[in-house]
Amino acid sequence: MDREKYINVTPESLIEDELFLDWVLRQQPEAKVFWEELIQNHPNEKKAVLEAKDFIHSLHRALSEESLKEFNTHKIWGKINANTPSKIRFLIPSKWIVAAGILLVLSIFFLFPKGPKIIKTEKGEMVQIELPDASKVLINSASQLSYSNRRWKNEKTVNLDGEAYFEVTPGQKFTVATPHGSIVVLGTSFNIQARNDFTIVDCFSGRVAVIDTKGNRSIILPGQKITIDYAGLSEVKYVKNQENVLAWKTGIVYLQQANLKSAIQELQWYFPVEIQADETILSRPLEGFFKTSHLDSALYQITMPLNLEFEKLSNGIILIKENN
């Protein structure tokens, strides 16, 4: 880079100089080295350089620190979302749709059995669907629901991995299967959260029968919940503020009787991030909630109450640590 160019330089020419702006505005490391060396080797230029730097910083402040209080960015986002309703997505790439169409025609001729219908949500996505019997299901982030259209008349069974809220049309016998057991209902509304090691069922109306893999059975009523894991069924418990269980429908996840470890695990259902934390802080009890719209605020909401902080490492990992 040409140092001679900047001998007897004026602040005026500096404030339009791209290399100078690389340092002052764009904070590029190579530019920083260049200008710091220049000041050191040519002390006469120091005054002009610092004056121009101060001026640009003032200008930047004046342009950027304007009050934005007449704008509510959350409200604008709400309107944007209201104008883009969620649809059921077809997970098959469009070029395959033609191929699938041909297969479908063939299947009629060859009585090719129809595969199950699969609805899968990405992290941070929520999808509402209607089942063939008009029952409604709202599927939460990173979850998968599948059912067989062909066999729907004989057995109304859906498979669930992840979390979903069901409103089943009255009079329909209906089964939800999770890796840990099955839930049998007769016209009711309930929430199922199927995680890696357990499934939690919350009943909001009607009666819900829960059966584990060994065939043990329990009935839960509105206001109650039950946990199923590989060992079997838990006791039926009453839930305080059960409406909080459904807050995920509005983008808020409540943490009840949680600790940092379970909070991190829950957060990972919404954000595909790798998180690291020291073993010693993982068992700290945590009550509260996090919002599923933005990673930064969610991380803040689980670390702040515990007086912890988080840092994004350059390798893409998020480190949760003591707040010093």
Partner: protein, 209 residues
């Protein structure tokens, strides 16, 4: 140290992606990418939009339309390695479209140069202020007195730190016109500052004598 590996470890999170990767994620229909782009860019967009029009409803409508359209047309969007530039160009177009609809003509965006008295500063140096607060408030006042085009280019240059080529693409000007407009704007800003200082010192003198 305990590691919590993402449920699907192949995924790489948005924050550590470059612009092309983020944009491709959005184009593939990832709603999180879309909302994250909104969150990280909306303040910059509003600050820029305020240099184009004082109307809050126009700015809000333009930003709303922009993000709704991006989502609806996501599969038809082309690639970009500079998301901010893409959004600034699109927002600018939207705002002028809305201003036009409001006023039936673009009268509020006529390039009016030098509408304030220019006092050429005697010395070549920038101004030395008494205090930092004084300087910041003077600069704010001077910016307010620039024409809309001058305000816009100063903002693109000194708030967003864009280079002249990118600015010329956003404003739809040739490279040379961009340089000229920038030079005029900086000179005007400086002269306005001298003018403010002149008024201020005149007021101090009146007070003293």
């Amino acid at each position: 140290m305990v590691k919590f590996v993402p449920i699907n470890s192949k995924e790489k999170y948005f924050f550590f992606m470059n612009d092309s990767e983020k944009w491709d994620l959005l184009r593939s229909g990832d709603k999180t990418a879309w909302s994250d782009i909104y969150t990280s860019e909306v303040t910059h967009l509003i600050l820029y939009a305020k240099k184009l029009t004082p109307s809050v409803p126009i700015i809000e409508d333009a930003i709303q339309d922009l993000f709704v359209e991006i989502w609806q047309r996501k599969s038809a969007l082309g690639p970009t390695d500079n998301i901010r530039k893409y959004l600034l160009v699109a927002l600018r177009r939207k705002i002028f479209f809305l201003i036009n609809k409001d006023e039936k003509k673009m009268s509020s965006y006529e390039p009016v140069e030098n509408e304030l008295p220019i006092i050429d500063s005697p010395e070549s140096q920038l101004i030395n202020w008494q205090t930092l607060e004084q300087r910041d408030s003077d600069i704010k006042k001077a910016i307010d007195n620039l024409s809309l085009r001058q305000k816009e280019i100063i903002h693109l240059k000194y708030s967003l730190g864009l280079d002249n080529k990118t600015i010329s693409e956003i404003m739809g000007l040739s490279y040379q016109s961009t340089r000229n407009l920038l030079a005029t704007s900086v000179r005007n800003l400086k002269n306005l500052l001298h003018f403010l200082i002149f008024l201020w010192s005149a007021w101090v003198q009146k007070l003293l004598f």
